[in-house]
């Protein structure tokens, strides 16, 4: 039974849950519709009327088969609380149902923010200046997130595992474990792990810090209205990490949605994104290190997309979308084969009069 049917059949149960959670007498829940971007999550827009007060909310439940990297609903709720309290534009967490007894699986309700997250439409709709301004705004928002440090962390985040001493080595070891768990051998990705292992020492700076990182901060995971940021979404991968993991993930080629020359998320210039980050109190951005983490991002997304396909192929969750996602890994494999051989992972600058192709 799909979650849509489950939800429609359980409106009364959700209303009863909200009466208990709020102490209100009159609670009405109206299902508005399913929201996109639900490969890992199922998201529903719901309108709540609680003792006459109307609240536009999102109900979020895990998809039938989650992926190992992502947090459950209770943890995600805790993450949102911390992030929201830190002043990051993120949906305000409202109520958590963590037992699974109300609709068959845990869910939470958060404030519903306005704006669209559709990445393909966004990257094509923005004018150049708007795109740079948005990139700057996103850089600033990320800097706010990265102010949250382990030492000052609230008890709410006690469930987050401590970061490894050598973060890159730990990530690469994890990638190898995940490659081992896939049914087919992946020679290109094995080669990419080796290359990154060899390159890593050059990018391990003395002053590396560990901060609260989103770990899926990219175009498609934030809301935009009138070219302005309205909210950052999808904290289910968040954890302690090197801030460069977020900076690199955002700029990675695989998250530019076809607008490859707009190196900051397909929306704007890399410089604008960095400038926004630095102006909002983020540490000065080391471009070389961002580019190293962009390669880490391509490798991680290649592995994740193969895992998505396996969710379908294993029969745990039949989904055309998940099946097709598996094909995308070839694009990252080809990218890695090119980009990991470029000095500093940078495209070779074009020389004047040498190349007629302006692509």
């Amino acid at each position: 039974m799909g979650l849509s049917v489950m939800l429609a059949n359980n409106i009364a149960a959700i209303e009863a849950f909200l009466r208990r959670a709020t102490g209100a007498k009159e609670v009405a829940v109206k299902l508005v519709g399913r929201l996109g971007g639900g490969a890992i999550q199922e998201n529903w827009a719901v309108d709540l009327a609680i003792d006459g007060k109307t609240i536009a909310a999102i109900l979020r439940a895990d998809a039938p088969s989650g992926i190992d990297e992502s947090w459950g609903k209770a943890q995600e709720f805790a993450l949102l609380k911390v992030v929201h309290a830190a002043g990051v534009k993120a949906p305000q967490p409202l109520w958590l149902e963590e037992t699974g007894s109300v609709i068959g699986q845990p869910f939470h309700l958060t404030q519903r923010l306005s704006g669209s997250a559709d990445p393909r439409k966004l990257v094509r709709a923005l004018e150049e200046e708007e795109g740079d301004a948005l990139a700057q705004e996103l850089g600033a928002e990320l800097a706010k997130l990265h102010r949250i440090a382990p030492a000052a962390a609230q008890a709410d985040l006690a469930f987050l595992p401590a970061p490894a001493a050598d973060l890159v080595a730990a990530r690469l070891a994890e990638f190898r474990r995940r490659l081992d768990a896939l049914p087919e051998a992946q020679p290109v990705l094995e080669w990419a792990v080796n290359r990154l292992e060899d390159e890593a020492p050059a990018y391990a700076r003395g002053g590396d810090v560990i901060r609260f990182c989103h770990r899926d901060f990219r175009t498609g995971n934030y809301l935009v209205e009138n070219a302005g940021l309205t909210g950052v979404l999808d904290f289910e991968f968040a954890g302690w990490s090197d801030p460069y993991e977020d900076l690199g993930w955002f700029c990675a080629r695989c998250w530019r949605f076809g607008m490859y020359s707009a190196e900051a998320g397909g929306i704007g210039r890399r410089d604008a994104f960095y400038a926004g980050y630095e102006a909002a109190g983020g540490a000065p951005v080391d471009d070389g290190k961002v580019r190293f983490w962009e390669q880490m991002a391509a490798l991680r997304w290649a592995i994740m997309s193969l895992e998505q396909a396996e969710r379908h192929l294993s029969g745990r969750e039949r989904s055309m979308e998940l099946a097709l996602t598996g094909l995308v890994s070839l694009e990252m494999e080809y990218d890695l084969l090119i980009d990991l051989r470029l000095p500093g992972f940078k495209p070779v600058p074009k020389k004047r009069n040498e190349e007629g192709d302006a692509a």
Partner: protein, 133 residues
């Protein structure tokens, strides 16, 4: 099967009907789903058409890489290669590494030609040093 129309003609007919008759009438989630089905059929069709050739060329590429007769079990060869790479059997900066990269680029490009030929063309046209293909 020997019966006409064969698998390729059936997929072609299904794809055309979907793209020309059905897709224009759909909206929203259904349109998205139909577009995904069209993509799945299109990739399957390409794969079917080029299967024998890409298999042959991957085996030849393996033979060049290992410099010997490699048999014909591609899945086993890929497993062996992945293990050899992890065991660092292709030393950096040595001719064996060049052969390895040539093999990886060639086999990946062949597959990408099936799943997303536009992407491949775009990257080959771009600024990178894509010398191996």
């Amino acid at each position: 099967m020997k019966q006409r129309p064969g698998a390729d003609a059936l997929l072609e007919a299904a794809l055309t009907t979907l793209q020309e008759d059905l897709l224009p009438t759909l909206n929203g989630r259904q349109k998205f789903q139909a577009a995904m089905i069209a993509r799945a059929i299109s990739v399957a069709k390409q794969d079917l058409e080029g299967a024998a050739e890409s298999r042959r060329s991957e085996l030849q590429s393996f033979a060049r890489l290992y410099g010997r007769d490699v048999g014909d079990d591609l899945a086993a060869l890929r497993r062996q290669l992945a293990a050899d790479i992890r065991a660092r059997k292709f030393a950096a900066g040595k001719p064996e590494e060049t052969r390895l990269i040539d093999h990886l680029v060639e086999t990946t490009a062949t597959e990408l030609r099936i799943t997303n030929t536009k992407y491949l063309a775009q990257r080959q046209r771009g600024r990178g040093a894509e010398s191996a293909v």
